[in-house]
Symmetry: C2
Amino acid sequence: MSSVDPRPVLIAGAWSLSDKVDTFRAIHPRTLQPIGPRYPVSSRKDLQIALQAGSEAAMAMAVTAPEDVARFLEALAHRIEARRAGLVQTAAQETALPPSPRLAEVELPRTTRQLRQAAAAVRDGSWRAPTIDTSTHVRSMYGPLGGPVAVFGPNNFPFAFNSVGGGDFAAALAAGNPVIAKANPGHPQTTEMLAAEAHEALLESGLPPAAVQMVYQMPYEEGKWFVAHPLLGATAYTGSRASALALKRAADLAGKLFYMETGSVNPVVILPGALEERADEIARELVASCLMGTGQFCTQPGLVFVLAGERSEAFIADVVRGFEEAPVGTLLSKGVAENLVRSVEGLRKAGAERLTGGRPGGGEGASYRNTVLRVPARRFLKRPVDLEREAFGNETLFVVAEDRTNLVAALGALEGNLTGSVYTRRDVSEDDLYDEVASVLRRKVGRLINDQMPTGVAVCAAMNHGGPYPATSHPGFTAVGIPPALLRFAALHCYDNVRPHRLPVELQDRNPTGRLWRRIDGEWTTADVPS
Amino acid sequence: MSSVDPRPVLIAGAWSLSDKVDTFRAIHPRTLQPIGPRYPVSSRKDLQIALQAGSEAAMAMAVTAPEDVARFLEALAHRIEARRAGLVQTAAQETALPPSPRLAEVELPRTTRQLRQAAAAVRDGSWRAPTIDTSTHVRSMYGPLGGPVAVFGPNNFPFAFNSVGGGDFAAALAAGNPVIAKANPGHPQTTEMLAAEAHEALLESGLPPAAVQMVYQMPYEEGKWFVAHPLLGATAYTGSRASALALKRAADLAGKLFYMETGSVNPVVILPGALEERADEIARELVASCLMGTGQFCTQPGLVFVLAGERSEAFIADVVRGFEEAPVGTLLSKGVAENLVRSVEGLRKAGAERLTGGRPGGGEGASYRNTVLRVPARRFLKRPVDLEREAFGNETLFVVAEDRTNLVAALGALEGNLTGSVYTRRDVSEDDLYDEVASVLRRKVGRLINDQMPTGVAVCAAMNHGGPYPATSHPGFTAVGIPPALLRFAALHCYDNVRPHRLPVELQDRNPTGRLWRRIDGEWTTADVPS
């Protein structure tokens, strides 16, 4: 089907002609011209086929050996590496993200590492938290949801969060669920290439061919129908808050799980002692963190809190200089640039003052000048909701607090965020103020950081890429970090008085691998159940 | 305030006059006459005071020692035991549940056991799943939500699920959150007595006095405002589905966590071999499970599946006899009796045939005759949603499947349920059909049971009193079983590069107790972090 126009969708285990309602093409963010083939906007019929096939695949996967799932995830990682040059080139064209180091040396290896970590988690099985109470004959563990997981990928990570091959995809499959991916329309060809590799990897593995399905786009109303469908297990959505909330509403009404990760403003608090000690170093870190990837990270520092004073003024001036000296990057799309115009306007209307930037252009294609704004905490406290609206891109807003009371009050007025960072003097002399600041931030953020910018997200078991609403829809779950990210896509399966030979191997008396961690009568152990 | 009329509410750390919009009294289910004092229906003002005080208590609890929480829970257990006679007498009057053995020997000891298990979980701390990645300096664990948890208690467990002292109450506090309890209006005096004990226990402990607050009732619209309030951490609701869904909608729209447990029909599948082998025994078990507590259990078997045949006919006849011979109990309230009339009518309209009962009366006060209905699977398959509507009380519905295909199809048409039970012949000769039945049920229920009725719910770590929607709102969580029940009320708290002395003790290198289970670099251990 290599010359099909528009391109086929991957549903029911095969590349098929879409029952389309429209078509679209990717737009080159630098030239703003269409590139690559035409892609279909799927009708409800495509989605219906995918849901039915996904539901059957979910039943088949309930009896698939974990080893098959692990081999699939590893085969996909291997295939992505084998096609690295083409993937990087295509993604760079579609997103304007730098091919090197960003795409080739950072994001692609992160993606394959995630897939391999997911494979390891599946093989190990300890993520299921097998729990055995010997005296009551009750045993339980996490299992799949029983229906496919819809994954909506964002525009800003064409590999690591791609709806095919990205973090949510890996987590959903590792938890034993089929995936129905909805490509991000910003990079359809990258997604098509990843889906082609996933499909081939599937055919080599023991998984049902409909374990991975993919459509490119769907009309707004059909999206709401889709996430609320009875056959669906859950939705993982990463992207803009407005779309997320409309879909969440539809899913909630139908009692369907909906995990959203819609970014945040990631407050960074820089206390006076840190500025006294290392203002230059922190300014460099802040500028780099704000402008990396043209500021298009969920964890970009969008709000920087300092206490009023000469040192803070010098620091702000230094950061402004850094923003002015840095080249203006190309944004992911014209839409991102337009949103940034609107967002900065909104912040200014709410009382923020422009220090630099604040208008479109300055770079190639879709671009907006590197922008720094400021607002006194006193004013921030009057309109906190308007002033903590995310401006996705190369912008940041300083909040200058008149005193400690206003600093703490302004932090207390924040909504839920993914991260919160605090910089203090290297010794313990600022620990009192730190404690006050951290105790407020702890309730507001998923990840509390010291002496570091929020943009680095290590893929490790202790990571939390999550946080209180509206950063995400549930503060108990993380979208990054394996195995915990799998728990979003798991149901708790309890077996009460079930005859021993009918139990899943993970819950039988004998530890199936000798390495599986299980909680037996309250103690974690890799031993067999004592007889 | 012992003679205050109406009774005061417990808000902001003290018994206070309610800013009431109305009053009500409990109704004796046997005499249908009002009993006990008048109780207030709280206005929004009461709720506002409670939310503000609860939010401040949440901040205070963030730095409260776990030992203080544990001592509070134990003190409450002790006080409940000390006041046992009065509590049992009052609850029996308000609910018509048998004082003995049900209330005094079963439910009250279960309640105090839950409180003590929660205390043990708090002291142990392993429920927080402290996770340490040494190479990345990222550490995380579960912590409190940062706001009070609203607990709405059901009518059918005046102690074990009471909004004060019951399972959700214990779990929310053990996870470090204050509770704002909303009493069930069916047993206000029982709840008042429990709240009095909780308040005294609080004053003896190091917890903030507003860690436990309680109101009796609120207008419908104020309930929706309450569960959506920004200061609230989460809501746990056990009760009728219609009210639950209205509140869930309001909470969802505001991004507030809402855990509902609204019961289910708990399919019991009895395969031919089991009937051939032990029909009498199973009939006795079924009748007892259906009529215990006049059938008013979340896990009461409301749907019983058999394959058509002579043995099944004899079995059904036997069960009908059992229902007819058993005394007709008094229901919890006139409202429950009226709902049962409507529910059975609905089932009959949808095609169910009456075998016995099917009309009000037959017992003292609020009562309804022990009722058995039947429907062929063929007809069930035409209107599954109408025929799996819960009829809360002493009723059950047989679904007679024409063949294995229809049996499996009918099970496949079920919505989410708390439990599913399967009875088979004692040897392995029915395992093929078991596998088919169990694989369908596994996706539909939280707890899969063999050779046992669902009404016994052991309070142990492996228990799952939960299940797919609409039985609950999230299939990954359980309302019974400590420590897992705590996770509903927890946020994932990550610490990234946080200086060692600022970490919570649970995440510092040294294991604080030598017994705390932590996941260090992927392995569960009670050891210190290797240096």
